[in-house]
Amino acid sequence: MKKRVLFLLVSTLLILALLVTGCSPQQSEPADAPEEGEAAAEVINIGWIGSLTGDQAVWGNCEKNTVEMMFEEINENGGILGKQIRVIPYDTRGDAMEAVNAVRRLTSQDKVAAVIGPNASGQAIAISSVLEDMEVPGIATVATNPKVTVDDNGDVKPFNFRVCFIDPYQGAVAAGYAVDVLGFSKAAILYDVADDYSQGLTEFFEKTFVGKGGEIVAKEGFKFGDVDFRPQLSKIKEADPEVLFMPYFFKEVALSANQARELGIDAVLMGGDGWPSEVLLEMAEEAVEGSYFVNHLDFADPEVQDFKDAYTAKYNLPVELNGYLAYDAVKLLESAIIQAGSFDPVEIRDALKTANVKGITGQININPDTHNPEGKDAAIIKIIDGDYVFQQKYSAD
């Protein structure tokens, strides 16, 4: 029922949006649109969507830069299947509705062969109905929610793919590492009850940790927007855990880590890919010292340095996590197109279902049943002397 209401709402807004955009003159065809019939000079459009304004603009800009940089390079080397590629980027402003509009425009007006992005799960989930309508595949970058590629009934969505691992996997990796490598048996969890990401990690951390013979001695919740966690932390302190799992984002991590230390909790802290940020170290350098978190890759891995250097030389900016996954999304798409031998979106989709490619965040083997990269290694990072230090690749079984 909820779904139907949402669908009605989305479609009404879409119709309105089409009416509005239809009348505005700026939406005319791109000036250098390819002429029909000139097959040799034909340019293939690839869409990218993500946040270029708002809270996540840093990440979105990095993805867009990465995608543009890579296709420039591909074009210089003769393109894909002898065709030049043009990237058409649209801003979603971090908004699911904007993302739907952008995909609608990309698929109906720009006739893209595939869509790369968005990075956020909320937007990635929203666009799947449009992708399915228009039969164009989409590859999400850092959208880790399971529902991005699988619907509520557990059936795989035919046109959604991704290159990152999913939330449950992160939780399982963290728990596995805590028990098997660090040798902990008593864990506490503090999590955001109002957030899917946090709940997903918590659920699977708990399952794996208990499954491996550990015990969850305390599990406390807070709500997004809270800034004081001491009541919950005092309770956790009573339970005396060896490890405290904090599956949420860096701001709350910094605040709660500081408060935990102030209360005298000396447990090792652990978290997921919501952690890495300069702000975390700035706010809570001493508190998170010696903590571990699960990440998509090791930033200092020699294999990623070429890309990092090229990017920094071109844009004079550091590469965000999103850049690496955008890189892998392009690699995956390129290999699927070559395998399909065509730019037909449905044929690309068929190739994506069994695509495997060596990305910079690890080997990506798409599972046709889930459209997720299967068994992708996670990187375990430890914070030592205010620096992110790679420990090892680790995968949950």
């Binding site: 004081d228 001491r230 009541p231 102030e262 209360l263 005298g264 702000v279 700035e282 001493e286 508190a287």
Partner: protein
């Protein structure tokens, strides 16, 4: 037992921040009879002033703290001039004041988002995070400082109101603005002073809040809780605002600590509603009927 004491300390420390914010609401309410929702905005600006003085100008904590308090006081006074005085001169209904206050609050929040940006900022660390250990109980250094500063500011405020001539005039104006005017009290000046005092306290609260948590444009939203604490204690009563805030802080922590952290707000606010049913004017509020 030590866990219980620790939770009480946590509650007192959260409550003391609420208290600093709540007295600002109560002060203005006692004179003007409306809830000054722009107070949250003033607190937020105070926090930003302190932040920029300490980061961009690298002023020492004490100097930045004082200047932020003065800056917030000036802002509150300016707001009174622009947003409330014209209404007052026209004898506008109370509802208009509240709408004007909400407008000012939205304006302040959005001007910060537009000019400084929506992301949060972190204060440079002034106090070490190593806590004081009292047996099994730990008390954060910053919390201790917040306790002391909150306490001193509130004592100073009570001194001004109880022991000075201006304070007497404030009390008289709170009792009846019309009668005070007839008695030769310059009520415009009194209102100016009340907003100034409320603003200075807002600046103090803003800087302390920013140091403890972070600075972001939606800080004003947190002050909703201190407003509720002020209502709970009895709007218009300063001791009521303080007691209401401390109680709210302690009830919140105990609920989270002994029942469920998810239900914290739910249980805390159901308790507050129960108190208001039992005593409609709050714990220490004056009985009035025409207040908005």
């Amino acid at each position: 037992m030590s866990a219980f004491l620790q939770q009480i300390i946590n509650g007192l420390s959260i409550g003391s921040v609420y208290a600093l914010m709540a007295v600002g609401y109560s002060l203005v309410y006692s004179i003007m009879n409306f809830s000054n929702f722009a107070h949250g905005g003033v607190i937020m600006i105070g926090a930003y002033i302190g932040f920029f003085l300490m980061t961009a100008f690298e002023l020492p904590f004490i100097a930045a703290f004082g200047l932020a308090a003065i800056g917030a006081g000036l802002l509150a006074v300016t707001l009174e001039r622009i947003a409330y005085r014209p209404l007052r001169k026209r004898n506008a209904p109370f509802l208009y004041f509240i709408i004007s206050a909400m407008g000012a609050s939205i304006f302040l929040e959005n001007i910060v988002i537009a000019t400084i940006g929506p992301t949060f900022r972190t204060y440079p660390r002034v106090f070490s995070t190593t806590p004081f250990q009292l047996g099994a109980i730990s008390l954060g250094r910053l919390d201790a400082v917040m306790f002391i500063i909150s306490g001193l500011s509130l004592l100073l405020l009570i001194y001004i109101i109880e022991k000075t001539k201006t304070g007497m005039a404030i009390k008289a104006t709170a009792y009846s603005i019309r009668a005070s005017t007839l008695m030769g009290v310059n009520t415009d000046r009194i209102i100016f002073i009340v907003f100034g005092l409320g603003g200075v306290l807002a600046g103090v609260a803003g800087v302390l809040f920013g140091m403890k948590y972070t600075v972001y444009p939606q800080i004003g939203f947190i002050t909703m809780k201190s407003f509720i604490a002020a209502v709970f204690g009895g709007l218009g009563s300063l001791p009521g605002a303080v007691i209401g805030s401390i109680l709210l802080g302690v009830i919140e922590t105990l609920t989270a600590g002994y029942f469920s952290s998810q239900y914290r707000d739910l249980i805390a606010f159901v308790l507050l509603i129960a108190v208001l049913i039992w005593r409609p004017s709050g714990l220490m509020g004056k009985i009035t009927e025409d207040k908005a």
